[in-house]
């Protein structure tokens, strides 16, 4: 219990140091290659995941809706689920494993081989040089990759609905476009933004505090994924509760209906 409180306090100090370092400017020379590397390397897995989320959802939802004679509403169900919930959560989960694990293992290896200490000895802040660019890269890339996942999810769902279940494309897209508004997209992207920040911060923190040689690197990569995944779930729940309260107001505002 005491250990958990101590770790939480230590993590809060780390987050404050990252925030403070942000004020000193961003190291674009470090961040540029990271954006390309993380984004480019993750796009395949995100597209694949997104496509299958949509397809699986279409198969499952069709069974339910067909029983009530509402199969043409499949587009509405698939698209809302993908955009609001499954796209951001599953894209972030994939990236927690793919990117978070890699960030954590890389920094942990640098910690074990004294490269992190070497940075500090050369007058370079490890927080500013290692953690800030990776945190920002995750913060930017998770929402961007979520857009790709959503797109593929919608496409995958549409293919299953129209090609396998034989739903008329006009009806499918008609219901889908009527039910999804700008606020639904924003909800998903705000969630992705929080998920990305959590993945970046947790992975860097775990990597920088790794101990124990080669085994420690493995433990750090696994821990970064597990803690990021749990944080995504908890964050998703509380953001969901919050969005449920403000959705009527936000939808009205964004559709030009006034307060």
């Amino acid at each position: 219990m005491l250990g958990a409180v101590e770790t939480s306090g230590d993590f809060a100090v780390f987050v404050a140091r990252v925030a403070f370092s942000l004020k000193r400017g961003v190291r674009w020379d470090v961040m540029g290659p990271l954006l390309v590397e993380i984004g480019f390397r993750s796009i395949g897995v995100v597209l694949f995941t997104g496509c299958f989320i949509g397809m699986v959802l279409a198969v499952q939802a069709h069974m339910q809706l067909a029983a009530y004679g509402a199969a043409t509403r499949l587009g509405q169900m698939v698209n809302l689920s993908v955009i609001r919930e499954l796209g951001p959560v599953l894209a972030a989960t994939m990236l927690a494993g793919r990117v978070g694990g890699s960030i954590s293992a890389e920094i942990a290896t640098m910690r074990m081989s004294e490269q992190v200490d070497a940075l500090a000895c050369l007058g370079v802040s490890p927080i500013r040089y290692l953690a800030v660019p990776r945190f920002l890269a995750c913060l930017i890339l998770v929402p961007v990759l979520t857009v790709f996942a959503n797109f593929m999810g919608i496409l995958g769902g549409a293919i299953v609905a129209t090609e396998i279940h034989g739903i008329e494309p006009y009806h499918y897209w008609q219901h889908a476009s009527e039910s999804v508004d700008l606020w639904d997209h924003l909800m998903g992207l705000i969630k992705a933004f929080f998920f990305g920040g959590s993945i970046g911060l947790i992975s860097c923190y775990v990597g920088l505090n790794a101990t124990g040689g080669a085994r420690g690197v493995g433990i750090a990569a696994t821990r970064a994924f597990v803690v990021s995944f749990l944080t995504i779930m908890v964050c998703d729940f509380f953001l969901g509760l919050f969005f449920a309260r403000i959705t009527p107001t936000m939808s009205r505002l964004l559709s030009g209906g006034g307060p």
């Binding site: 081989s113 004294e114 490269q115 200490d117 070497a118 500090a120 000895c121 050369l122 007058g123 370079v124 802040s125």
Partner: protein
């Protein structure tokens, strides 16, 4: 000097430790260390494994914080410096890590250029000139300059680490077990490099070592530490502090037992004879 300002050092730095103690977690590592390190001096720190030598070195550069006492760099208390100011102060230090601690995603040249680029030196001509100067100083052949750290031997990695540490012309050089894991020829080469740096540059040096040959070659003063778990609360952790010749004559049982007969002979041989330049010999043996 106002608290928090970065001390000016045009020459070698002085350091002073006043009643310094370090506790990491539940373990006390260092206790009651009082020490003056004079400008231009080479201090060699010896002692059994686990006596806190590496922690001592990290204390001097602020990587480990003292839990008791204070550490003064040019009369400036390291504890009073903000993290940002401590980072700036560290530019006056050079640190050679036991493993070299080279950045494994950068080539030899890029590793040496790294501190200059980080400190805003953008002139490629100036960077190039200083890379060549530093790598030539440590005797690394140009054929190795474009290699990655993983393609270098242990001795070559340490030489690159030394070149990187020296490129910003530090006022104090810290060496963490510079000869550990090296063959006798390469040990001689690294010892000679430490001596060359101490003699040719305005720099104060602190060397952590297990090697009595290193002590014999480079030391102006010697500090011997003892592991705290073996000491009673009233026993001092510093077993010896003095010159190498005083160490040779020291009759304390704990010092005699650590050095042994062979060790005494090594110190005598090392301090009595001039150390041959083994750089070229080592080049041939490693290529």
């Amino acid at each position: 000097m106002s608290s928090g300002s970065i001390p000016q050092t045009d020459g070698p730095a002085t350091m002073r430790l006043e009643g310094v103690g370090v506790t990491l977690g539940d373990n006390q590592i260092l206790r009651g260390i009082n020490l003056n390190i004079s400008a231009g001096q080479t201090l060699v720190v010896i002692g059994e494994s686990g006596c806190g030598k590496s922690v001592f070195l990290k204390l001097l550069i602020g990587l480990v914080k003292a839990t008791e006492g204070r550490i003064l760099f040019q009369d400036q208390d390291l504890k009073l410096l903000s993290e940002n100011r401590l980072m700036k102060l560290r530019l006056k230090y050079g640190y050679l890590f036991q493993s070299g601690a080279l950045f494994d995603s950068l080539s030899v040249e890029e590793n040496v250029a790294f501190p200059m680029r980080q400190q805003g030196i953008h002139s490629e001509t100036s960077i190039r000139h200083r890379i060549c100067e530093s790598l030539e100083d440590v005797g690394l052949p140009p054929s190795l300059w474009t290699r990655m750290p993983s393609d270098l031997s242990g001795g070559q990695r340490k030489r690159v680490g030394l070149a990187r540490a020296l490129v910003m012309q530090p006022a104090i050089m810290l060496y963490d077990e510079p000869t550990t894991g090296l063959d006798p020829i390469m040990t001689g080469v690294i010892n000679d490099l430490i001596l060359k740096v101490a003699r040719s540059r305005p720099v104060t040096s602190v060397v952590i070592t297990h090697e009595l040959r290193t002590l014999a070659t480079v030391a102006d003063r010697v500090l011997m530490l003892r592991p705290l778990p073996r000491l009673e609360p009233w026993e001092p952790q510093v077993a010896f502090e003095g010159t190498p010749s005083e160490l040779r004559q020291c009759g304390l049982p704990v010092v005699r037992s650590f050095l042994g007969g062979h060790g005494i002979a090594e110190i005598t041989a090392g301090s009595d004879s001039s150390t041959p330049d083994l750089t070229h010999q080592a080049e041939h043996s490693h290529e």
